[in-house]
Subunit: 274 residues, 2 copies
């Protein structure tokens, strides 16, 4: 089949991040087509809607194929105006608001970017968590670890830092991380500063071959990056974690988003049992 | 109206983050109802679907009201099994895959977590960007700034760090950030190390009152946090940016996600003009 190309226009009265994330999932199901992305975030007035309309028309003329429009739009007037364009509309709100209204026996407020006290508290929590994670990255500080929600351990470059930052920015968890280093393997026990917090320690591990590739980019041809050293460190870290009773996860074929959700589940489970 | 409460079950064969993000937007439209979240990520087998089914049934019995189920599920067999439950189903994929198939004249692959070369490259780019942003947070290093996609400037605690990290983790942009400090205001010009990169500098500013509140949490009753000093610093930073021709944005009533998207638009616009 000949590879074709289509333009996708993402329109939102907010950031459009949700529309694009869901859109990426949907579009990845059509392998033979390449999609060009055009974005109209913060489309919160009829004037801005008119600018979208014009652009959609131009794209349709240029390409001879109407674009796909994926949108999240609370305001029904703006939504109606946009629909005057010739495009395939996938409206993530419209599709679900009506069945929700019926199920809940209530009209929706149709308002954008609602700023509940609840949301402000959640936001402040995420920012505080991010500050905590930055201050406790890579074992920089062992102070204040009693306030951590989770402490990740693992060898250098096993994915601790991005996972910690994602846990804080997305889920508002205070995530510290601590490297396991050759000294720990020689002593063959966890760093002393972590011992009081065993119940919130989780480990990350990674296939030595992948670790080797990652470290080579950082320090090419070093002992640190060599496959032999990566094998030895991963082996030592895993046996240390095993003997210390630390639950660990393998980053090898997982994204940071997937790892963050696995950790979230493990943390919740532990808290339910406690 | 009496406040009611409903349980929402998020089910996905992936992380479920998209389902929950879109769900939060939808549910925030119903102000008088409080929603309890239950999550079933990585539901990628019929056995796991059966566990969901059972839980959904239990919730319905306990609460006397069927739960809402918001899901992203590629696998049609698992999807069909889940629909045996008594719940309101909002299926983000099902609603849009059929119209997309028709528009594109192609069947979707109905497969989960597709790992295109494309996606792996995007992922590697995001991780590299995050490493760059961590290494260039708060002016730690001025080396390598030529490789930055964007350099944020602003007074301490104006939101540079979370915005930089979000730009890198979400959008794969190498975002450095550099604090504007009293010495810069005295000299009344941008730090020397930034001068060669004027075309990728953007500023963040913030209302002095909000800055004061944020700094008070860090260093209560300090000169640094005092309202008078916050006013003076914000004023000096804005006039320095104005005279240097730096575009800047106001964080005061914006979230980091909103700010990141505004910056992305500004960066793209500049690149189009260049």
């Amino acid at each position: 089949m000949k590879e074709t190309s289509r333009t996708v226009v993402f329109i939102s009265d907010g950031t459009g991040i949700t529309a694009e994330t869901l859109g990426n999932g949907l579009l990845s199901q059509f392998e033979d087509i390449s999609f060009r992305h055009v974005r109209f975030p913060f489309t919160d007035s009829l004037d801005k809607a008119d600018a979208c309309l014009q652009r959609i028309g131009e794209i349709g003329l240029q390409e001879g194929l109407r674009p796909l429009v994926i949108m999240t739009m609370m305001d029904v007037k703006i939504s109606a105006r946009l629909r005057e364009a010739d495009a395939l509309f996938l409206d993530l709100f419209e599709a679900f608001i009506a069945p929700l209204e019926q199920e809940l026996g209530q009209r929706s407020t149709h308002s954008v970017g609602r700023s509940h006290g609840q949301e402000n508290r959640e936001y402040a929590k995420r920012i505080a968590a991010m500050n905590f994670s930055m201050a406790h990255d890579d074992g920089i500080s062992a102070a204040d670890l009693k306030n951590a929600d989770v402490i990740l351990i693992g060898v250098s470059r096993s994915g601790k830092t991005p996972t910690s930052l994602y846990l804080s920015l997305q889920f508002g968890l205070k995530a510290a991380n601590y490297p396991l280093i050759p000294e720990d393997f020689e002593r063959d026990c966890l760093p002393d500063s972590l011992l009081p917090f065993r119940d919130k320690l989780f480990g990350l591990t990674i296939a030595p071959e992948q670790l080797h590739r990652i470290r080579e980019e950082r320090r090419p041809h070093s002992h640190y990056a060599s496959l032999a050293n990566c094998r030895a460190e991963v082996h030592a870290a895993e046996s240390l974690m095993r003997r210390s009773g630390i639950t660990w996860f393998d980053m090898t074929s997982r994204s940071i988003e997937e790892m963050a959700v696995h950790l979230l589940q493990a943390i919740n489970k532990k808290q339910e049992l406690a």
